[in-house]
């Protein structure tokens, strides 16, 4: 409730300043103008948001699957980890913005190139955390499994996998919001729909209220995605102490 009250107060202040100082609409539109833009353009805004979210979710899903599979490999083989980890770091440190034009060149301006930019940005947190979670099992628990002659598969299924889940979910929460950023970055480079496209086009035409509407939609999408992942986390990690957000 308190954050909502602050939000409303901030909007009122913003509205008042813009009106009193007579700031032109194309520089800084008041919240009321943004809101009416959102209401007016709701269908087209929804369409663009939908495109971005499909790209983001597809990238997120693909990245998580691949990163987790790789984490499983890393957790079982130090050699592969040593050999491949530097490339994973190289991938992380290369800015997605720098690779995005290449991806658009290779994959075209449709949704595929954005899925890949989104996946690239999601990949690393999941890889690192899942590897750590699969590894960080209690030594004595391993002894316990060994004293029962547990197979590697049993150790994985009954010990490593559940042990990695809290680590994995912290990474998923990070990459859920990153995935939306990744998709928008991809759209900046070349697209004909999506929030990134909308932001770019609105800024060309100085349609600042539309630009703001797109920014609001992007923010809400990111928060919603994060919220969904957090909700799933609470459902899955029932054994954990409820943690502070």
């Amino acid at each position: 409730m308190i954050p909502a009250a602050f939000f409303v107060a901030a909007c009122c202040l913003w509205e008042a300043i813009v009106r009193l100082a007579q700031v032109p609409l194309y520089i800084l539109p008041p919240p009321s103008a943004i809101l009416s833009e959102i209401v007016e353009q709701n269908l087209s805004l929804l369409k663009h948001t939908g495109v971005t979210m499909i790209e983001a979710i597809a990238g997120f899903a693909a990245a998580n699957l691949i990163a987790f599979a790789l984490a499983v490999v890393f957790a079982h083989s130090r050699i592969l980890e040593k050999g491949l980890y530097p490339y994973a770091i190289a991938l992380k440190t290369t800015p997605v913005v720098a690779i995005a034009p290449l991806l658009v060149l290779w994959l075209g301006t449709d949704m595929r190139s954005k899925m890949v930019t989104s996946a690239l940005i999601c990949f690393f947190p999941v890889l690192v955390n899942a590897t750590r979670g699969l590894r960080a099992v209690n030594e004595e628990a391993l002894d316990l499994f060994e004293s029962l002659a547990a197979t590697r598969w049993q150790v994985f299924r009954l010990l490593r996998l559940p042990n990695s889940l809290p680590y994995l979910f912290s990474a998923l929460k990070i990459s859920s919001s990153l995935s939306v950023i990744g998709a928008i970055v991809g759209e900046f480079v070349g697209a004909n729909s999506g929030l990134g496209y909308l932001i770019l086009v609105s800024s060309y035409h100085l349609e600042t209220p539309a630009l703001f509407a797109a920014v609001v939609a992007a923010a809400i999408s990111g928060i919603a995605f994060f919220g969904v992942v957090s909700w799933v986390e609470r459902k899955v990690l029932v054994w954990q102490e409820p943690s502070e957000v």
């Binding site: 002894d143 316990l144 004293s147 029962l148 002659a149 009954l158 954990q240 102490e241």
Partner: protein, 255 residues
């Protein structure tokens, strides 16, 4: 005629980590159904000895046979059960799911639920079946660990200071609960502790190790009558035995 194999047979066991020798020529036999404690200073190799007996660590030289077979073969049939200093419960499993874990690993499906309930009842865990480990007290967690190992009825229990992390009152209670289930299940128990009192209270024999490298210093036979109870603990006979042993060994015990 072939004599029946001992539950545990340790022959000339040595273990070194690089230049550091931890165990030196240890030989020990434990009969079936016997309760044997191993005492010695902390960090003196007791845990390593227990892990070698359980097949978790390879010895540098020497051999271990459990009822005639090496530990790695024996454990496949659920022959041995480990109890560690920490309860080692899996936090994502409820108490009952934790207790059932060995059944899953050993593929003992269709284990009768009544036996699980009975065991949980014996150990005072009834009503907590669906609690997660974080919701249980330390003593209760250790009891759950005990239930987990007793459920699949291993022939040999290897216990590594299992009650070292709980308070003394709980520890005494757990000691007697352990004696109760030992008498009921006729398991062989190898019990590592640094407390001479605990060792004498529980065991038929007490193996005293020297430290670094650990060698067998003495093996004492404890002839206190069984079943042992609170009265045993308060008896002059028990206290005399502890004092006499401590003086002879000149070792410290935590009590």
């Amino acid at each position: 005629m072939k004599t029946p194999a001992s539950a545990v047979q340790v022959r000339n066991l040595s273990k070194s980590y690089g230049k550091l020798q931890v165990l030196d020529q240890i030989s020990l036999e434990v009969s079936k159904g016997e309760f044997v404690s191993i005492v010695g200073a902390s960090g003196g190799g007791k845990t390593t000895l227990l892990k070698i007996i359980g097949g978790l660590v390879k010895p540098t030289s020497g051999e271990v046979l459990l009822d005639g077979l090496p530990p790695t073969e024996r454990r496949r049939e659920g022959y041995l059960g480990f109890v560690f200093q920490n309860p080692v419960l899996l936090p994502w499993r409820t108490l009952e799911e934790n207790v059932r874990l060995p059944l899953e690993i050993l593929h003992q499906n269709g284990f009768p639920q009544e036996q699980i309930n009975e065991l949980l009842d014996t150990l005072g865990l009834s009503g907590f079946e669906t609690s997660y480990p974080r919701q249980l007290s330390g003593g209760m967690q250790q009891r759950a660990a005990l239930a987990r190992v007793l459920l699949y009825k291993p022939s040999l229990l290897l216990m590594d200071e299992p009650f070292g992390a709980v308070d003394e009152i709980t520890r005494t209670r757990l000691n007697f609960e352990l004696l109760k289930v030992w008498e009921k299940f006729h398991t062989t128990i190898l019990f590592v502790t640094h407390s001479l009192d605990e060792a004498i209270l529980l065991s038929d024999r007490v193996v005293v190790l020297t430290s670094r490298p650990a060698k067998i210093y003495r093996i004492l036979t404890v002839d206190l009558p069984r079943p042992r109870s609170m009265e045993t603990m308060n008896s002059a006979q028990f206290h005399d035995l502890v004092r006499w042993t401590r003086e002879r060994l000149k070792i410290d015990s935590q009590s």
